[in-house]
């Protein structure tokens, strides 16, 4: 006899227990500490902070461990937590020219004021698996130069001084910067909101879009004008005190793409820019973001809309991996009411199809009716 399906609640509880057991894995293997994740898996921590939109290494590590290394799931945990935090205001803009630089390269100049600083990178390394790596052995202490306290001008500002580079857009006095976590995104979106969206966007999605511009889908002739990574001070203007209070330091990666531009009705021939800024050490993401940012600026520069990377509704509506994963994975939810409705229609249409042909269907489903 048929009994209506019951026991969803019990099944869910058991599923959660199983999942917790899977998370811990073999209990004879030492458990993972968050300090290990923070110290030894810094790139995943940075990615979770960036796309989770919350700078907190310890919290990111907890989320990564809880999510068993599923980064989108970890990002989701961070986002869901972040949204519950009270807001007491917005910081003043960070000054990346005042950055305490760990790495800074320019592909457009052989040498430049402040120098090329390779810093920690896996560029130029041979991708050979290191079978002899001993995780317990301390790494050889790297040689370090004296700390450079002086500010390092950005490459784009140097070119700008000669009128070769489009100037940084300046917002009007008192103009507020948009925040898509507080107000729904409205199209067309201005560059502030676009950049916010991209900074939180999925690295893989931006990488693919950026790559597509290099392959001719809205070609933007990019050069990596400068990529810099290091620590910047975050400051908050306290009304009560009447001055800026330092809140702490965060590490960021900034990418300034320089794009050759032959001019249009709207703008003179000059170098234009795409901008990328991401939490932590995330060059791939910062570069992709800069490529996509530049592509999205087609209208303002009088270019033609020809490719997906330029289409802001397409890019901004699909960049968020938490939204994307939720909607893709919601297909796992029961849909049998809708499916029943479709089944009914397809049965009717199938019957009509075969009746018109005076023939019989060969599939079992049709035959069963």
């Amino acid at each position: 006899m048929y009994v209506a399906v019951k026991g969803g609640e019990k099944a869910i509880k058991n599923a959660h227990k199983l999942f917790a057991a899977k998370r811990r894995g073999n209990a004879n293997v030492p458990g993972l500490t968050t300090a290990q994740i923070v110290e030894q898996l810094s790139f995943v921590v940075d990615r979770v902070m960036g796309e989770g939109s919350l700078f907190d290494r310890e919290l990111a590590a907890i989320a990564i461990r809880q999510a068993q290394g599923d980064l989108i799931e970890a990002i989701f945990l961070i986002r869901a937590y972040r949204t519950t935090l009270p807001r007491f205001g917005y910081s003043t803009p960070i000054q990346t020219d005042e950055m305490l630089i760990s790495r800074r390269i320019s592909a457009t100049f052989k040498d430049l004021p402040g120098g090329q600083i390779l810093g920690p990178t896996f560029d130029y390394s041979h991708r050979l698996i290191d079978f002899g790596y001993d995780s317990e052995e301390a790494a050889e202490a790297p040689e370090q130069s004296e700390l450079i306290e002086a500010s390092t001008p950005r490459v784009t500002d140097m070119l700008g001084d000669q009128g070769m580079m489009e100037p940084d857009p300046q917002s009007a006095e008192g103009e507020e910067v948009g925040d898509l976590t507080r107000a729904p995104l409205d199209f067309p979106a201005d560059r502030d909101l676009r950049l916010q969206n991209l900074a939180r966007g999925d690295e893989g999605f931006l990488l693919a879009l950026g790559y597509s511009t290099q392959r001719g889908y809205a070609r933007t002739h990019p050069f990596a004008g400068e990529i810099r990574m290091g620590e910047v001070e975050v400051e908050f203007f306290a009304e009560e005190l009447g001055f800026e209070v330092p809140l702490g330091k965060i590490s960021v990666t900034e990418c300034q793409m320089i794009n050759q531009f032959q001019g249009s009705e709207e703008a003179p021939p000059q170098f234009t820019r795409g901008y990328g800024l991401v939490f932590g050490h995330a060059e791939r993401k910062a570069m992709s973001m800069a490529l996509v940012d530049r592509a999205l600026r087609w209208e303002e520069l009088g270019e033609e809309l020809t490719a997906p990377a330029q289409d802001q509704e397409f890019v901004l509506s699909h960049s968020d991996n938490i939204q994307a994963t939720g909607f893709v994975e919601h297909l796992k939810l029961p849909h049998y009411v809708d499916f029943q409705a479709e089944l009914d229609l397809i049965r009717t249409m199938s019957e009509e199809f075969w009746a018109e042909r005076n023939d019989e269907p060969t599939t079992k489903m049709g035959a069963a009716e």
């Binding site: 006899m1 048929y2 209506a4 399906v5 019951k6 026991g7 969803g8 609640e9 099944a11 869910i12 989701f76 986002r79 869901a80 972040r82 949204t83 519950t84 009270p86 976590t181 507080r182 107000a183 729904p184 995104l185 409205d186 199209f187 067309p188 509704e313 509506s317 938490i322 939204q323 994963t325 939720g326 909607f327 893709v328 994975e329 919601h330 939810l333 029961p334 849909h335 049998y336 009411v337 809708d338 029943q340 409705a341 479709e342 089944l343 009914d344 229609l345 009717t348 249409m349 009509e352 079992k364 489903m365 069963a368």
Partner: protein
Amino acid sequence: MSLAEISTEQDAYNFAYLDEQTKRMIRRAILKGIAIPGYQVPFAAREMPMPYGWGTGGVQVTASILGPDDTLKVIDQGSDDTTNAVAIRNFFAVTSGVEMTMKTSEASVIQTRHRIPEEELTEDQTLIYQVPIPEPLRFLEPRETETRKMHALSEYGLMHVKLYEDIATHGHIATTYAYPVMVEGRYVMDPSPTPKFDNPKMHKNRALQLFGAGREKRIYALPPFTDVVSLDFEDHPFQIQEWPDTCCAMCGAKDVYFDEVILDNEGSRMFVCSDSDYCETRQADGHYGEMHAEYKERIQ
């Protein structure tokens, strides 16, 4: 009774999870939606602790209107015991502590996905729909900038052309759920992916109907007694799904929406009410279908 007494919430979170500022923002959007029936009001949807696409819009609307005295019912596919309904009910049990029910008639707030209860609702009830894609024109025109213009100008020709082309090509309107409706003769609205069987229930319903789309950041509403008309043509009038000669195998109900259940490897099937509370209430009242144990006893 104080909030602390009735709530089992963790200290870290407010009653019904959302902070009061957020609830206020959402209630404003709801009020605007009620003032302009069928109009999609943008709102700053929050990230919720469940995935987008799993009811975050409905959950935010519910959280915003829920009070300590409410009684909540959560259904998915018409049933209280489907996994996601269970998960959402637990969420509100933990964060709000309000009374839960599975009985349609006892609920003051009902959150639903994909169905409207068979039992008629009253003016004391609010029905909250989870909406994945609130824009009825989305699959005809993917751009938000365009669809907003089309709504502003009541330019719905495209939708009628689509329905007409369905008839021309297939002989039927090939939309069976999320079937577009006209609200108060002004806005074409997506009824959420409820089967078109449920569309007539939306028309002049006594309950307040609220729709929340979290990922798409939209809220819309149908105040009680709103005109909701499914789009059709004079020569091709709107029709709901019908199961001629079919009764619920458990409670014997006719004229309800059915789940089709496959019973064995040979593909033999039975039909049962999709609305589990409706079905159980009927069984309790002594109505039995042919698969019900009591029915078999009665036959003997």
